[in-house]
Amino acid sequence: MENAVSEPTISEAVWTQVGSIDDIPVLGSRVVRTPGGDIALFRTAADEVFALEDACPHKQGPLSQGIVHGRRVTCPLHNWVIELATGEAVAPDEGRTGHVPVRVEGRSVAIALAEAKLSRGGCRKACGHV
């Protein structure tokens, strides 16, 4: 219940349930397959969940396979570090990967894919993690 986040900008119909937070390892990631490509869901030590397009802005490495630390993930291919909350590459690297709004209610995790298209190229504050 503490995780419940009300998200006024996203209508109820848009959320898709994808599983339980317990299905994602702490400091780990799981993949959700969608027609528009794979989405990587990440879980931090503090039990936050973030979702990014599963492709590094550098050479499209699968971010879901990287090491999660703090609120960042390190790409497994060439060690770019990506901010989970925004999809933005940490300097000195430059680039951004698509970012999908996530909602955690109780233990269950939902993503708003329709909003993800809007947020390709960067989160537009549609994310539930305020």
Binding site: M1, D23, P25, R30, A45, Q65, A85, V130
Partner: protein, 842 residues
């Protein structure tokens, strides 16, 4: 409710009223159900704002006057008496004209007639009604949860039950490692019981503390003799099998462990006590729903405290209750514009000598930053979470004196841009006193231990500095041994030099730290792990003063390796700290697919193996098959989801993982040797197989490749391997530290030996020396260059005893690493989540 009242045989309403309310001007009647902290705080505030406005009646279910419930823990621990925690005595109620009815729970509300009825049948009318019934401990509904001896921790009766049990001694099990559970555990331990805390989550107080602080708390409680079992799920509470005196006997966990218990305290959480409101038909969710004026769905009825749900949230801490009480009192006193907008809360653990504080949201989120400070010598951990220039959350362990300051910055949403640089050191830091690390060092007594490894006190160091005229860290190390082992206290020693010498001290140039999370080097961290017995990553973070909460992608794999190497069989591999190849047991390729390399011992294979490989290639439509430089076959382009099935088929043909993905033993390349070759001097292939059987599965700082050539023509290219054996007529030459990669380096000849047994012993010893001494991601070639061949010879060739000891340690560690990871995943379902999608949508 009407039915309830009409069936009531108690005295008539009129007589009750006459009895309860003395004559006087007609005042509005306020009835308060609940004599706890929230209800009475409201009454106190109301009396201050509008004395005499209401004719007040208070019902209390407990037989006591109003007391400070949050101080029950000190009562249990024997640090306070009940009288000391009474907030308002019966005389106070009398003096304020309040009718107090204790030991009298209210059973129902007749909203139409505006009356409440108590258990004893007393009926009291109201104009305004305040429900402040608080909460009840949640009892997990496992079998046996209703046995005598299973109690919650909520009121004085529970404390009395615990004290009675403690007086007899014996064993207590506390279920729940949150605030209340730990306070109960500490109290029972202080009272002499053997106490075990069972906690479902991996770290204690996970709602209030982050994992680092939770770990420190667990260590502290353990040092007080409290056993803590995390990740422990209660299956059943077992009776004592005493006919006629059936009570609790033990707690059984889901993993089968059984913990004997004379008393079980359930402290897994609280539930709002909303039964009265619900029965009266008030709008209820997880609690009785109230608006910002604390009004329920009935405009004459209010509710405050733990029984309410406000804006979707319920509260279990005292500060929000008081804030609610203030708003309601303002409203009842006729004020306008008061509104409760929810609370930011802070927590402090009331266990004497354990300083823990947390406030706000420290789970972070978009655009937040952490400031982490650890002082290993003082056992201090502080973490501040900032967003922009505002403080969002704080976790403090070991030094909580600035908790109130952080909390006020946080609640006020204050701009901290000017404080930010030094704020982690505390409020006084700007002024250069309390938080100044040099001042803190200066204030330490001479008896304070600075170097934990070598037991060197401050006085000893200062004396050496002044008497011997020392001016550098290295000199202090040489003379006192302080920071000579793990170097964890080097910073403190440097500060001592600065404090003692003033301007006469210039800090030594910094050595390259392991990563940005720490100022310590690989070697210092490693030494600390061994010398100080650090056995978990969290302990290393704390002891070596990491500046991040959970490390980074650079230090975590290194620490995982160092811990695994130092504590074989004891340290549990941290899967999430491994690079993807070691996590997936296959090599990731540029398109996100994987390659699979089965082991071919010494480069040998067979028709059956080749046939099985061919079948796998067909079955899974594997696009590329290639022979590797290490004499085996690589299957490229395997989808991650297919890996377990591919492995299952290879396992079925007797093949195991080739560890082509590991910082570990890769291959042992061989030539055919004396079995077929006309030049061969020894059985190089057979020896290669033996070496591979000896070394496979080991984890090393970086990859390791071996080779055995059957004669000095060296067809197996043994002299550019990490360890190469070249067979000669009289025996075997052992070459080490070669590399055929980016910087080609030919091996150095380490030794010549006569027998295969010696080759195997040297190999085990060399592997272990490399495992123990090289830095993570340092191949043998740069390692040998760094330490010198003489160093390696001294350990392995000139000191047979050390060689044997190293080999023994290697063989011991191998007993934990020679399980085929493919079989574990293909057949036993280990890490299944790694290979399955979470979901497929659209």
């Amino acid at each position: 409710m009407d039915m309830h009242l009409s069936s009531n045989n108690g005295p008539a309403v009129e007589s009750n009223e006459a009895e309860l309310h003395s004559a006087g001007p007609v005042r509005e009647r306020l009835v308060v159900v609940g004599n706890g902290m929230a209800g009475m705080k409201t009454v106190e505030e109301l009396l201050a704002k509008a004395p005499g406005r209401f004719d007040i009646t208070v019902f209390g279910a407990e037989p006591h006057p109003n007391y400070n419930r949050i101080m029950l823990s000190p009562v249990l621990a024997g640090e306070k008496t009940f009288d000391q925690i009474v907030l308002n005595s019966r005389e106070w109620y009398d003096a304020n004209g309040i009718t107090l009815l204790t030991g009298e729970p209210v059973e129902g509300i007749d909203r139409e007639a505006k009356m409440v009825v108590s258990q004893s049948g007393r009926v009291v009318p109201y104009d305004r009604l305040l429900i402040a019934t608080g909460s009840m401990p949640f009892i997990i509904p496992v079998p046996g949860s209703t046995l005598p001896g299973v109690i919650g921790f909520r009121d004085l009766a529970d404390v009395d039950a615990m004290l009675a049990a403690a007086a007899k001694g014996g064993r207590a099990v506390v279920i729940g490692g949150g605030l209340l559970g730990l306070e109960a555990a500490n109290g029972l331990r202080v009272k002499g019981m053997e106490v075990t805390v069972i906690h479902l989550m991996p770290t204690l107080m996970e709602r209030q503390l982050d994992p680092s602080a939770g770990m420190l708390l667990q260590r502290e409680l353990e040092s007080r003799g409290i056993e803590v079992l995390t990740g422990a799920d209660t299956a059943e509470i077992v009776g004592n099998n005493q006919e006629g005196d059936e009570r609790v006997g033990a707690v059984r966990l889901k993993d089968g462990r059984e913990l004997p218990a004379d008393i079980v305290v359930m402290a897994v959480g609280i539930r709002p006590n909303m039964a009265l409101g619900k029965a009266a038909g008030l709008d209820c969710g997880r609690g009785i729903r109230v608006d910002d004026q604390m009004r329920t769905s009935d405009p004459s009825i209010y509710a405050v405290g733990e029984c309410v749900e406000h804006r979707g949230l319920t509260y279990g801490l005292v500060a929000p209750l008081f804030e609610m009480a203030k708003v309601l009192a303002h409203d009842l006193a006729g004020g306008e514009g008061g509104a409760y907008a929810g609370s930011v809360t802070s927590t402090k653990l009331k266990v004497t000598g354990v300083d823990v504080f947390s406030a706000g949201d420290f789970s972070g989120g978009e655009g937040t930053e952490d400031i982490v400070f650890r002082d290993a010598a003082r056992g201090v951990y502080k973490r501040l979470v900032l967003k922009g220039n505002r403080l969002l959350g704080a976790v403090l362990y070991g030094d909580t004196k600035d908790g109130a300051w952080y909390f006020s910055l946080l609640k006020d949403g204050a701009d901290v841009s000017t404080e930010r640089d030094g704020m982690i050191f505390g409020q006084g830091f700007g002024g250069g006193d309390a938080g100044d690390p040099n001042a803190a060092i200066a204030a330490l007594p001479d008896s304070a231990e600075i170097c934990g490894c070598n037991g060197v006190c401050k006085g000893t160091i200062v004396k050496a500095i002044t008497e011997k005229g020392l001016t550098s860290l290295d000199e202090v190390k040489a003379h006192t041994k302080a920071s000579a082992s793990c170097g964890g206290c080097a910073g403190t020693v440097e500060r001592l030099l600065a404090v003692t010498l003033g301007d006469g001290f210039t800090a030594a140039p910094k050595v390259k730290p392991m990563c940005k999370c720490t100022h310590h080097t690989h070697d210092q961290v490693r030494a600390a792990i061994v010398d100080r017995g650090l056995k978990t990553m969290a302990e290393v973070f704390q002891a070596m003063e990491w500046t991040t909460p959970d490390g980074c992608a650079s230090c975590r794999p290194a620490l995982n390796y160092y811990l695994l190497c130092a504590w074989p069989g004891e340290y549990r591999d941290d899967y999430q700290s491994r690079y993807i190849n070691e996590r997936a047991h296959a090599n990731i390729q540029k398109d996100g697919t994987y390659s699979v390399v089965p082991r071919m011992w010494g480069g040998l294979t067979s028709a059956a193996e080749l046939r099985a490989i061919a079948d796998v290639v067909d079955k899974f439509a594997i696009p590329t098959v290639k022979v590797t430089g290490g004499q085996r076959i690589d299957l490229f382009g395997v989808k991650k989801e297919d890996l377990p099935a591919v492995w299952a088929d290879l396992n079925a043909a007797g093949m195991v993982s080739g560890h082509a993905y590991a910082k570990g033993l890769r291959t042992v390349k061989t030539c055919v040797g004396s079995e077929w070759c006309r030049f061969g001097t020894q059985d190089s292939t057979g020896l290669g197989v033996k070496l591979e059987r000896l070394t496979w599965g080991t984890w090393t700082p970086h990859k390791v490749k071996l080779a055995v050539s059957g004669c000095p023509r060296n067809c197996a290219e043994a002299t550019i391997k990490d360890l190469g054996v070249v067979c000669i007529d009289s025996g075997y030459e052992l070459h080490v530290g070669g590399n055929g990669g980016l910087h080609v380096r030919a091996c150095d000849l380490m030794v010549r030996v006569a027998t295969e047994e010696e080759v195997l012993e040297y190999t085990g010893a060399f592997m272990q020396l490399y495992r123990e001494e090289a830095r993570y991601l340092e191949r043998t070639a740069p390692w040998v260059e760094r330490v010198g061949l003489d160093h390696i010879k001294a350990a392995l060739v000139e000191d047979p005893e050390r060689r044997r000891a190293l080999n023994a340690r290697f063989l011991f560690s191998q007993t934990f690493s020679q399980d085929d990871p493919w079989a574990e995943r293909a057949a036993k379902g280990v890490d299944r989540h790694e290979f399955n999608l979470l979901a497929e949508v659209g």
